[in-house]
Structure formats: structure tokens, C-alpha cells
Symmetry: C2
Subunit: 197 residues, 2 copies
Amino acid sequence: MHAFPADLRLALPDWVAGQLAGTPACLPTPEARMALVLAWARLNFQLDTGGPFAAGVFERDSGRLVAMGVNRVVASGCSSAHAEVMALGLAQQRLGTYDLGGPGLPAHELVVNWRPCAMCYGALLWSGARHLTIAGSGPELEALTGFDEGPVTPGWKEELGARGIEVHEGVLRAEAVALFRDFQASARVVYNARQGG
Amino acid sequence: MHAFPADLRLALPDWVAGQLAGTPACLPTPEARMALVLAWARLNFQLDTGGPFAAGVFERDSGRLVAMGVNRVVASGCSSAHAEVMALGLAQQRLGTYDLGGPGLPAHELVVNWRPCAMCYGALLWSGARHLTIAGSGPELEALTGFDEGPVTPGWKEELGARGIEVHEGVLRAEAVALFRDFQASARVVYNARQGG
């Protein structure tokens, strides 16, 4: 018999409890939701608990906060522990379903500080979320931070639309880019630096 | 303060312990590794613990089994709990690193019973694995099982190659297709049925 692992555990950092104490239960506007995501993304790298990425799952219409995630790759020893995977998984476990778009549920929205990477794009597809809100989708992320985002299919927006997922882009874009600049200036670790072509 | 979730837990089914008791520590050939993956994929749907997918992480040269995963979407209430995410995450947590290709480690191989979906393709990119072995990559999976695999970038093999990941395709292909046919015949749940175009 091997020392064989059977339980995968991924945890948010300890500071989230203190942050949540001051966070309203509902955030009615896209800007308020993105501001929360940006604040967590900034805290995550400044407190050395992960990369400069955060994500939130909200009820789209009421703005009720269901779950937040931050990048936990290094801390968790798990390359899949991106902010979106954390937020979507925690939201699903809170609601007791693998499908955020399941019967009887309100529409859910994923809010992230940039277009999801190749993996998280797929995670969004399978999550049942009906809405994606991002600050931007351009090359700024890779150019400023050095992270590799992987190949995203050219028709990424249309593929989301075909699965009933609307995209809202451009919320607090300048603030999101400023955050990447600050990460760059901090000279912190980039754990999946862009390789090859 | 909300009832706010901070720990994501994803577990393999109880039957894995019994299966491992009879599994050699090393599986030297691609066929032996794929046969194990196919056996677990079959058990997973026949025992109603998940979809017809399994994955293993092996040391590429020695064939030492590092971790196995099976699809746990429904059981875990988490749409990201695909076999590849489970296997890669468990292997990384066993080795204590988010990078299976890190310094001092032997090359690692991910063995899966079909080409990874859009999400797991990205998960592979970030894992540090240096080799992907699959039974096949064609439309048989979606056609026979009804699962949506999502849009994979057209140059998927080249993008893997550019990141130092070799692909070995066609190992026990007929057996893998037969497994999908048996899943189809079992009329079990398809939790992310193909939608739209």
C-alpha cells in the first residue's frame, strides 16, 4: 500500500475573515463588486499569500456575495488553485450544487480582475455561472506581470455566449492595470512565467 | 459576518483504497498505465461515484505511480473536480510543490483516458508535467457520452510542445472508446450536456 493521497484541500488565507467583517452582504453595482475583487487581489500579493488575482461569485441581480477566491497556487502547493477555481468551487460547495445555474437558483455572476486564463476559462464554462464581469482582456496582464495565460480559443466570447454566459468587460479597467503595475514593481515571484514563443 | 466558505475539499471515493492495495508501485509501460486509468474510469461510473474519466500522474521513466484521480463533480458538488484536476493536485500536494517539473524532480507524465477538456487542458499547462498520454482525442467522447468538452485551441498540441509537454496519443484507444459506449448504454447522468451549437 502506498502513502496515497485521496483528499485535496485548498484554503483561503487567514486574512479573509477580517476583510469580510467589513464587507456588505450585497454589492449592487458592478463597480462595487470589482472594487472588492481588486482590493483582495492587492492584499493577496502584498501579504504574500498568492498572486495578484481575485474573483468573486455574486447573485447577479441582488449583488449578494456568495463566495470569494484568491490565487493560492504557491501557498496550497497546487497549480490549479487560481482565484476563479477557488471562488467557483467555494460558491458551489456553499450552495450544495456543482451547477450555479441549476433549477431554482438565481443567476450567478463571476467577477474577476482580468480575463480568465486558459484553465479558468474552462472552469467558468462548467460552473453554471451566467455572467462574467472583467476589468479587461488584453495583453496587459502578461506584459506587466510575466504570467502566462495560455492559449484561449479565438472565439472565446462567442463560445461563452453559446453556453448562455454573458460578458461585461471594462469595469475599473485602469485600476486593474495599475494593480498589475504595482505587482510588477514589487518584484515578487512569477510561478508560471511565460516560456517558449 | 457571513457564513463564508474558505476551505475547498475534494475527496476521492472510498473504493480507491481497496483498488490501490492490488496495484503495483510502478507501471513500466504506457499500456499498463492506461489500463489502470481505464479500470478506474469504469469503476467510477459503475459504482456511481462520478463520470467515466480517470487520470494518473506517474514518474515518466520509472513508471512510479504518484497519484490517481477520478471525476468527482457530482459527489463533491464542484464542477472543477475533473479527474485531471484531482490527479495533478493530489500529486503536487504529495510532492509538496505546485510544480511537477521543478528542480530536482524526475519528469512526470499525466495519463488520461481521452484528450483533456478545455479546463483540464489549461490545468495541464500549469502543472509542470512534461508528458501527456491519452487514448485518443477525437469526437468520440462527445458523440458517445454527451459531455461537452469545450473549445480547445486549434493548435493544442503545438501549444503544449511550446511549453515542453510531449503528447503520446493512441494508447488502448479501442478500449477507451468501448468504455464510452458502455457508459452510454448505462444511461447515467450527463451533468454538463452539450448546449447550443
